[in-house]
């Protein structure tokens, strides 16, 4: 009974989405307030029905309703309750439903938090979001219904959730990632609405900015969680594989980062408008591309669930339609926009432009490396894969260049920056950075060009950020007062850049100075990684809720002192007949010691992987700090105050401008 209600809820929300994508837009185009007024109620209705459908599916999982095919395929009565809940998004249909839930959630958030926006604008934005919902609701109803029944042959028990996915990482990673992916739809909707209106101005940029930043923060968290999960669960200690699925999430992140910076210029200086709109379209298209790559089954990965060609073509059509429609609109409307503001060839505008050039180049590189093999395969020109070295060789120089540019850009001023002044300003940070980088090199013992460049770029970003904070917080009333005076968006930027510095430092150090060894060990054997000595004590057995495990006991020594003991496991899941390796990690701020057991070689000898991973935590901590920076930035007061000003449109802002001029 309930699953049918869920199905009905999906269909009803599709109807509401269709109305939402037509009625308010028609109202906005014809100037009828009565039609525009439908935007918010329709949005709420759509959200309620999707939330209902999601709740019904969760209910089916928790109550072990194996008559629902999706539940039978992805759950089992022995699964602990929290994995039953997270199994809702453990497969294709459910994760798609979650995607839609997020989409309508964002739509609702726009409806709720944009009360101060002009009605015409908000109607158009919600209509565009409605159109996106129509596409995905059609997709789920036509090709991927999570409520399909297995009647009358109801299986006695489910096939279990893939053991890889029975983990805290899966509970958190997809929701965060989807929040990011889907969140860019809001920036996209604002861009499309602005194109329809022909009103691409600073106000538009200011409205889109917080939404873009929030989406970006969620995406950052989602990617970091995925990397962390891969590190301990799947990757035998690797944290980034340049796997097409990872790249699919990195693409919108890179262009989203470019979009955030370009929006800043558009808001503050009113330039780069057409470029910003294009980036908003591209970023959302890349989110859709990511969904297509991951969900259509064209890729070989944990994320590619049992595939169905119909789904692939549907998603491809959706992607094509979105890109075609928005670029057509862009082609017709973008040239309308005129630019008046001026800036010199050395200014913050130029630094941010270069930032965009680098980020877009990085996006292109990753896109080419990811799509090239797929396109060749599709055209039947041969099967090939592009390995990690391709990405490492091409991505690292861009990352280093971005870091170097960032450090200098932090000090630059809008409109015009004096070259001599900037050079003098950079002298001391440069000296400090070189010294610190050299010290880091010496302490890790070993010089390599790329290691130095990576560490230097990271240190440079951090030093420049702190230096600028020091400069800005100078105050007659003391340092503390000066620090308090800084706006939240400035603090957001500081944290974002410091987080990036941490990620760069972590990535460089762990790739260059990490140690990874596979050894054959018998109880009593010792293995050394870095300064650590690992002693294999023995193997034991234990039972979990839905698995049996063999676990190894290892003692970890540093300079003869016992640091910790580790118990990696090899688990057998009887339901799915699968084996899983659970590594055990002694985590630390400056290093991880990682032990995992492989197969049994002879009666008492095992293949063991031991690893020393310096600064690996900085990757995820850095990402977390970046995301916190993003959330802090949108809490800035000015987003609330200025929105109110905007209602009284242009005359008010002109008066405001005069008032500012009059103050000094």
């Amino acid at each position: 009974m309930y699953p049918e209600l869920g199905q009905l809820a999906l269909i009803l929300s599709l109807l509401l989405a269709v109305l939402l994508s037509v009625v308010p837009l028609a109202g906005a185009l014809t100037g009828r307030d009565s039609l525009q007024a439908f935007a918010r109620p329709l949005t709420s209705g759509m959200f309620v029905f999707i939330a209902l459908a999601f709740a019904i599916l969760t209910h089916a999982f928790v109550t072990d309703d194996f008559s629902v095919a999706y539940v039978a395929n992805n759950s089992n009565s022995m699964l602990p309750w929290y994995y039953k809940v997270s199994a809702v998004w453990g497969g294709h249909e459910g994760s798609l439903l979650m995607w839609i839930l997020m989409l309508v959630g964002w739509t609702l958030a726009v409806a709720v938090f944009s009360r101060k926006l002009p009605s015409v604008m908000i109607s158009q934005v919600l209509s565009v979001l409605g159109m996106v919902s129509v596409g995905f609701l059609l997709f789920i109803i036509v090709t991927s219904n999570p409520f399909d029944r297995l009647l009358p042959n109801v299986p006695a028990d489910g096939q279990d959730l893939n053991p890889l996915l029975q983990d805290i990482g899966l509970i958190l990673h997809p929701p965060m990632l989807y929040m990011g992916y889907v969140g860019f739809s809001v920036a996209f909707a604002f861009a499309i609405a602005a194109l329809i209106n022909g009103r691409l101005d600073a106000a538009w940029a200011r409205w889109s900015r917080p939404w873009t930043t929030v989406a970006w923060s969620f995406l950052t968290l989602g990617i970091a969680l995925g990397s962390w999960w891969a590190y301990y669960e799947l990757g035998w200690g690797g944290w980034w594989f340049w796997d097409p699925v990872e790249n699919a999430s990195l693409l919108p992140w890179l262009s989203g980062t470019a979009l955030m910076h370009s929006l800043a210029v558009t808001e503050k200086r009113g330039v780069f408008k057409s470029w910003t709109v294009l980036l908003a379209i591209v970023t959302f298209s890349l989110s859709l591309l990511g969904t297509f790559l991951v969900r259509s089954g064209v890729l070989t990965s944990v994320h590619a669930f049992a595939s169905d060609p119909e789904r692939g073509s549907f998603l491809l059509a959706l992607l094509g339609l979105t890109i075609l429609a928005s670029l057509t609109l862009y082609a017709f409307r973008a040239p309308v926009v005129h630019v008046r503001a001026r800036y010199s060839s050395l200014s913050r505008e130029i630094f941010l432009l270069l930032n965009n050039v680098l980020l877009v180049s990085a996006t292109l590189l990753v896109a080419i490396g990811t799509l090239y093999p797929l396109v060749l395969d599709y055209l039947d020109l041969g099967k090939l894969s592009i390995g990690e070295p391709f990405f490492n060789t091409t991505f690292s120089p861009l990352a280093v260049a971005t870091g170097l540019l960032l450090g200098a850009g932090v000090f630059s001023r809008w409109k015009k920056t004096d070259g001599g002044w900037l050079a003098r300003k950079l002298l001391w940070p440069l000296a400090v950075s070189i010294l610190v980088s050299a010290a880091v090199m010496i302490s890790y013992g070993g010089f390599a060009v790329w290691a130095f460049l990576g560490v230097f770029a990271a240190v440079w970003v951090a030093v420049a950020t702190f230096w600028d904070l020091w400069d800005k917080s100078a105050s007659r009333h003391g340092r503390w007062h000066g620090l308090q005076r800084q706006s939240r968006s400035y603090w957001g930027m500081v944290l974002g850049h410091l987080g990036l510095a941490m990620v760069m430092a972590g990535a460089t150090v762990v790739s260059n100075y990490g140690i990874e060894r596979d050894v054959r060990m018998q109880p009593g054997d010792r293995a050394t990684v870095g300064d650590y000595e690992i002693v294999f004590v023995g193997i034991g057995e234990r039972r979990g809720p839905n698995f049996t495990a063999q676990y190894g006991s290892f003692d970890v020594y540093l300079d003869g002192n016992l640091v910790t003991d580790l118990h990696p496991e090899k688990r057998q899941y009887p339901v799915g007949m699968s084996v899983m390796t659970e590594a055990d990690i002694d985590a630390g701020l400056f290093r991880d010691v990682f032990v995992a057991i492989g197969e049994r070689i002879s009666d008492d000898a095992w293949a063991i992987r031991v690893q020393y991973k310096p600064l690996v935590r900085w990757l995820w901590l850095g990402a977390l700090i970046m995301a916190i920076g993003g959330f802090l930035a949108i809490a800035d007061k000015r987003y609330r105050i200025r929105v109110r000003d905007e209602q009284s449109a242009k005359p008010a802002s002109a008066a405001g401008g005069k008032a500012v001029e009059a103050t000094p």
Binding site: L164, T300, L353, L384, S385, T393, G576, I601
Partner: protein, 159 residues
Amino acid sequence: MHPIRKKRLTIVLFLVVGIAIAVGLITYALRQNINLFYDPTEIAAGNAPVDTRIRAGGMVEAGSVVRDTESLIVNFRVTDFAASVPVQYEGILPDLFAEGQGVVAMGRLNEQGLFVADQVLAKHDENYMPPEVAEALERSSKGQHKAVNAEKAAESATY
């Protein structure tokens, strides 16, 4: 020159330089890092290049896995049921590696025809098979060396 034009010119120059660098890096890196896929039939026929990093894939031949007891070296044969190739790998194999399962190995073919793998990828669950392997199996099953197992394998690959 008019200041706005001058500025536009600088922007265009920046873009051109950026794109040129990107294209240069891509072609440089692509030239070195493309790994072509070969199936066991092609390798056995001598069509695969020697001492070049390639990918090879197929099913792990039943009864072919031999583990050295004193080191981490494993020897096994990868087959498409028409031909098979000896593979050597040193290290820890993925959890899902087993005889009769599909694998993709990355590595180099040496002069003696031994495929020395530095990476072995196994499928992620029992219903899934790497598309290359599925196709290789399908190709060989269409040839004269038809094996009963191959049909079955190719069938399960369409999941």
